[in-house]
Symmetry: C2
Subunit: 377 residues, 2 copies
């Protein structure tokens, strides 16, 4: 791990920026100049002034999105601010281009409040065909996403919520098939009640999961508990109507599925041993998982997945977001729905003709995967 | 002209965006993924969180600027809004890359007031190494630029003001040399008291011009006249202390230099005939000049320049801004000064070893020109 960090730092120092802007048309003569710029450029401007929808016909809006953060939840590093989040946003933009053919540009926003952040995003949105919100902390990410979806006429997507949920559901569909379990009867524990955890819970619930316990630092969440917020309450009402309470250890007892989207090291081998037979363990905290895969294996985990590219079964949203926006931009979709996300997850799961415990989900380098997601949207 | 507009529209329709984002490093293996994105990317994030200045070492900020408009003064088309301005912003970004090697990204801002615009620019500035303000109307462009220069720690440059001024001064240095005039004794008429006109007046004044009349739709500007604003008053005090008044026709009488940055068709051949011998006529309104070059020629103009790439002597800021930001980014300059702008203009003028009336300024495709500007900053 020291190695991957130091190598990455060297690469970043060498590149000084992982992406650049390039021209799609040559600019070699005065004639080129008069078409790309003045005086010719006045004509598409006039057209768009007359018919605002023509912006999709003549500009980058057709195939360009913004990857936007406020820096409040960068990877698992926490609230390190928008400037320190820039390397992640750049990386994300690289993945959008590589896997989805989507032009993406990073925007790091320094804002004093969610309202100011929302205002800033709205003010700059006109030139973009979509907004990918990234690494924005809970619970303000929910309000931010909801408001932007309502008030903008371009698709808005908080990847930490829905991107993660889509790919988790895809992996889980194949993992449950291997473990011969139905989602409706599986006991599922989700550790982490932030952006990812709550959205995963919601999507699994929409997909038919009936037995979900969401655990945060204070234990299992339920309506009326201390340290709840409106989003936790909404999900607790949905997934835990019997108001089951207890610690992470209590929750893990007899569970079929563990999904960790919290912090490194929170899960002990003993907890894995308490789970039901053939337990499915998605230990996805980044960069350090809740329990290292080898430890989980030793403790009896049947299927193990992480969020990292250097272990098998990477449940990384890179399998989701490029195809999701590719589909949305191609089809002119203005708002995403849970139905689209479920179709995308099913399409992703189906890409694996013969899943095995070490291979429940396609490789991010499999172009079929991204195409399947785009088609499903 | 119909032709250039229709051709440009077809090109825009075909391209659907004149620029795209591309990766600077291959992304072919899981190892690449772990360095460009998680988990490796956590390391540059941690470094920047510890030492904010390291953002220049590890990210696009080192060589990326934003090209930002509020859509209030797009070309000569007026206040057509930020969406309709996007084709111009994209074009500008293409020129930044082509001629300066600067990565530039267009941001169109919808804001209700200059204060909101300023706030939005500040909120998104952290990921950029500089801000090129573009096609922002007067007089609010002055307040906007001044505030952003004061409050940001990256270079801010309103191209319509200073970019135009630099290239006009460069052309004028050679034109005056050909006409055997000193700038200190030349009578100069500037038509247009917007962003460009007032900034040209200021830079010429700083360079030594003593006899400048600025004319707007109400005639020559002077302190105390009706329809003034604080910026016009500031420039009038500087350039017209004797409070000369009158119409454009009055101003043109006996003038050596006419500089038009206003609207198409405002100058009649008779006005050119009233000028002194060997008059210098920069008729730069875009897309339609104040007087067409052939008419000005017939009326006796000795040296004629326009803002367009399809006539000789293009006084287009494309000769200025790419080198200006290239120099600023390379040298880590935080604020531009008039001294830098004058050095850039002189460097640009000197690129022409043997200026002639048809060739007072380098071709934008001459790489020496942009390098000379970058070095002068």
């Amino acid at each position: 791990m020291v190695n991957v960090y130091q190598k990455s730092l060297s690469l970043h120092r060498k590149l000084r920026g992982k992406l650049e802007t390039t021209l799609k048309t040559p600019l070699r003569t005065k004639i080129d100049l008069s078409l790309v710029y003045t005086p010719g450029v006045a004509e598409p401007c006039r057209q768009i002034a007359k018919r605002p929808a023509d912006i999709y016909k003549y500009t980058i809006k057709k195939n360009t999105i913004a990857v936007i953060t406020d820096g409040t939840a960068i990877l698992g590093l926490g609230n390190i601010g928008p400037a320190a989040g820039l390397p992640v946003m750049e990386g994300k933009c690289c993945l959008f281009k590589k896997f989805g053919g989507v032009n993406a540009f990073p925007i790091c926003i320094q804002a004093k409040s969610p309202a100011e952040f929302i205002k800033t995003v709205k003010n700059i949105s006109v030139g973009f065909g979509g907004i990918n919100l990234e690494d924005i902390g809970a619970p303000h990410c929910f309000e931010i996403e909801r408001t932007l979806i309502r008030e903008l006429d371009i698709p808005v997507f908080h990847d930490d919520q829905h991107g993660t949920a889509v790919v988790v559901l895809a992996g889980l569909i194949n993992a449950l098939w291997l473990a011969k379990r139905e989602i409706s009867s599986a006991k599922i524990v989700i550790l982490g009640a932030g952006a990812a955890g709550l959205s995963i819970a919601e999507l699994l619930y929409e997909y038919g999961a009936k037995n979900i316990l969401i655990v945060d630092t204070k234990g299992i969440i339920y309506e009326g508990r201390e340290h709840m917020d409106s989003e936790k309450t909404r999900l607790a009402q949905m997934t835990n109507p019997r108001k089951i309470y207890g610690s992470l250890t209590d929750a893990m007892y007899g569970a079929n599925v563990f999904i960790g989207v919290s912090r490194g090291g929170l899960v002990k081998p003993e907890m894995i041993k308490m789970m039901d037979n053939d337990p499915i363990v998605f230990t996805m905290a980044n960069p350090e998982p809740e329990i290292m895969p080898e430890e989980a294996k030793k403790a009896g985990a049947y299927i193990i997945a992480t969020g990292r590219s250097d272990f098998p079964n990477q449940i990384n949203n890179v399998l989701g977001f490029p195809g999701i926006f590719r589909g949305a931009l191609d089809k002119g979709i203005k708002k995403f729905t849970n139905e689209m996300f479920i179709r995308a997850a099913e399409a992703l799961a189906k890409c694996m003709k013969n899943p095995t415990p070490e291979k429940i989900i396609p490789d991010p380098f499999d172009p079929k995967a991204h195409k399947a997601v785009a088609r499903a949207i």
